[in-house]
Structure formats: structure tokens, C-alpha cells
């Protein structure tokens, strides 16, 4: 069903006092509502980085005392934010995009499986990232 250009209408409505617009026509209806800012999820959703396999989660390199990431830290795309250990092998947990670290969801030394949630990230918006 062809729709009017919703983005264009939204733009026109911005700055007016109109909070609700309903259009009914032979082709269908459209409802545009201007919700208060508090309810609007303006920021992109948290990304949860999950484990790609079974192993032991490491929040730091075994030789190091310092953790790889901590909540609040900014990370770049493909940055190593954790490690997965299988026997003597260490594989990286990588940030899928530029982000700030929201929190670690597993503890250092915890055994994880495929899909276990490891780290929560707030992706950086393109303005913030640049």
C-alpha cells in the first residue's frame, strides 16, 4: 500500500504544537503521535556480545593484572574486550562496533557456552563515534 512520505510529514509537524495527526483514506490509515521524550527510546538499544563457543571467560590476559575493559570505557570496533580460553588456546571477544562498555555479564574464570551473554555495550551513535 503506498504511503505518504511519513518522514516528510513528521518534519513538517516538528515545531508545530500538534501532538497527534490521524489520516484516514481509501488506501488506509496513518497515525502519527508525538510522544514525550522520556518514553521515546532515542538511544540505540544495548548490544549484548555473546560467546562464540565453549570455554572459560577471561576479563584480562592471564599474564596481566589489568582488565581489558571496564564499565564506562570506550572501545573501538574490533577491539579485544574479553578472551575465551579453551585449554591453552585464547580466542578474542571482539567489540562489533564502537561503543561504551555498559557492563560485564560474566565473571573472570566463569565457564561459558555458545551464546552465553558476555558483555553489554552501548553502541556509539555515528555523531558520537566520529
Amino acid at each position: 500500500m503506498p504511503f505518504l512520505n511519513v518522514d516528510q510529514i513528521s518534519e513538517w509537524l516538528d515545531g508545530t504544537g500538534i501532538t497527534l495527526l490521524e489520516l484516514h483514506g481509501p488506501m488506509g490509515s496513518i497515525r502519527l503521535e508525538d510522544r514525550p521524550a522520556a518514553d521515546a527510546p532515542k538511544a540505540p538499544a544495548d548490544i549484548i556480545v555473546t560467546s562464540s563457543g565453549t570455554g572459560t571467560f577471561r576479563d584480562r590476559h592471564p599474564l596481566s593484572a589489568a582488565v581489558l575493559v571496564a564499565p564506562g570505557m570506550t572501545v573501538a570496533e574490533c577491539q579485544i574486550i574479553g578472551l575465551l580460553q579453551i585449554g591453552a588456546l585464547l580466542t578474542p571477544v571482539l567489540a562489533p562496533c564502537a561503543a561504551t562498555v555498559a557492563g560485564l555479564l560474566v565473571a573472570e574464570g566463569e565457564i561459558v557456552g555458545f551464546g552465553t551473554k558476555l558483555i553489554a555495550l552501548h553502541p556509539l551513535t555515528s555523531q558520537a563515534a566520529s
Partner: protein, 329 residues
Amino acid sequence: MIEILSQTALATVQDLGRHGALGFGVGTSGAMDEMALSAGNLLLGNNEADAAIEIQVFPFTLRFRQACAFAVTGADCAATLDERPVLPWWSCQAAAGQTLRLGVPVAAAWKASRAYLCVAGGIDVPAVLGSRSTQLRGAFGGHQGRALQQGDVLAVGVPGEGLRMTGFGLQPPALVDRMQQDGVPAVRVMPAAEYGCYTEASLAAFWGEPWKITPQSDRYGYRLAGPALSPIAPLELRSHGIVPGVIQVPPGGQPIVQMRDAQPSGGYPKIGTVIAADLWRLGQAPIGSLIRFMRCDWDEALAANARNRAYLDEALRLIGLHRLQSGRG
């Protein structure tokens, strides 16, 4: 090609050593920590015995003149590639023109003193008498038979078929098997021929006391400080073959552990031999640190050899699996 940028001392090209030339008076040389060198090579799809650069004095800086996969094993040197941190014991990719800097070893989980810069394809210097290790005494092998200097340019070999990817690592064996006695790093020792020639008090001190690695310690041998070891009667021996790990006691009573550049024969009395399986641990012990000796027998020493072998075999297996699973075998 790799270009050495920093003024440096005591960095040499080493592999797993030169064997079969003892009869010419040529000792084995080779990496002080052969486990680190082997592991670095496995991370890069190299032969275990491919040549690498052993670094003992830090900071150490080099430039990759060509794109090159590499790994820094041994001590954690807070390494950076173009000032961005790279993990230790981890395979990395350098682009042409990038600079690698190894800082002073960070003594967190493991106090180590030597690092190994391994490259895919190995360091390409001519093999002399079957090895690329540097024979400092006699000045042959490695890079012109000498320690590396600022401005030296080293060739890198052609990477093997095995290498398709980087970005994974290994847990160092030092963390797998911690060897300590009363909180002091320890190595296992088998008694040697003149063991029974020493006084009870000397033997008790040998096993019971910590020994300090003095500043007069290097790739030739570690001079230890501690109680004087006294023979029951003065000993004067004929020259005989020795190997790295042999603990000699000169008349002064302070033991010297022969290390990788040890001469292949000597005449001082031998109280014991650090077992081959633990030489890498001693090779990483820093100047000024303490070491303890733990007595072991033949079977225990063989088992220790087997355990080292198992670590490397398992590492190779896991790396192979990881490559397959990542779809870039």
C-alpha cells in the same frame, strides 16, 4: 625485512639450538626459553624450530619494512604496534612501516626477563652447522655471529602454508605449572657425579636455601650467590663433556649453572644438573631474583619432558582446530 631501530644490547637470533657439533667444541646455544620460542612459532604456523629474535634488554624497537604476521612471547613487555597495545603470546598482523616497541617486562602474574619476537616464516639468516642460533663464542650463526645493533636489517622467511589468520593466542606454560618452593620459583635438579663429594651441610644448603641470581649471569651461565658449598676433600677433575643445566662448583664455593651458551666441556666439580625440562624457567628468571632447587629423579625428569611436549602438541592441535573452525584453515 625487519629493521632494528633502538640501540640495543644482547638481542640475538636464536632457534632451538645447534645439535651434533659438540665434537667440534660447538655448544648448542639456542633460546634461553625454548618453550616461548616454540609457542610463538606455532602461533604463526611456523616450524617449531624456526629462528626468532631473543631480547634481553629493554626497551627494544623495530620496524616492519614489509607486512608481517608476528607474535611476542616470553616476558610480557607491554608491547605496542604503532603505539597501540598488542597482547603477549598472541598472533598479530603488522603492516609495512609499522613500529613494534617492547618495553621493560611487566612482572604481574609471571616474573620473566626475556622476550621472543617470532615472525611468520622465521628470521631468515643462513643456517651454520645446521642451526640459525647465534654462536657468540667464535662469532658465527644467527646475524653475523653477534648481538643485534641499531640499523641491522633482518630478512623474514616465506610464511608456511599453515598460516591464514592471526588474532588468537596461548596461555604461557609458566601459568599452567607454577613451580615454587616456599614461595620462591624453583627448578628440578638431578644429582650429578660429584654430588656425593660434598659435605652434609653443603647438600642441605643446596636444597634448602634460596640462591640469588647475581648480575654476573648471562647466556653462558648463571652465577649464584648463597652459602659456600664445600667438598669433603679438594676436587680436581679432568676436562669432560657438560651440557646446559650442569651446576658447577668452582673452588670459591659459589655455584654456576651452565646455560645455553655454555661451553660443551669443563673441569669444575658438578653437584647437580637442572633438568632440561626446567631450563626455560631458569632462563626467564630475572637478575637479582631467587631460585630454589628441588631434587628429582630420572623418571620425574622424563615425565617433565613429556609434559612440556604435551603442552606444545596440544597447542598445535587447538590452533589447528581454531583455524578450521574459523573457516580459513
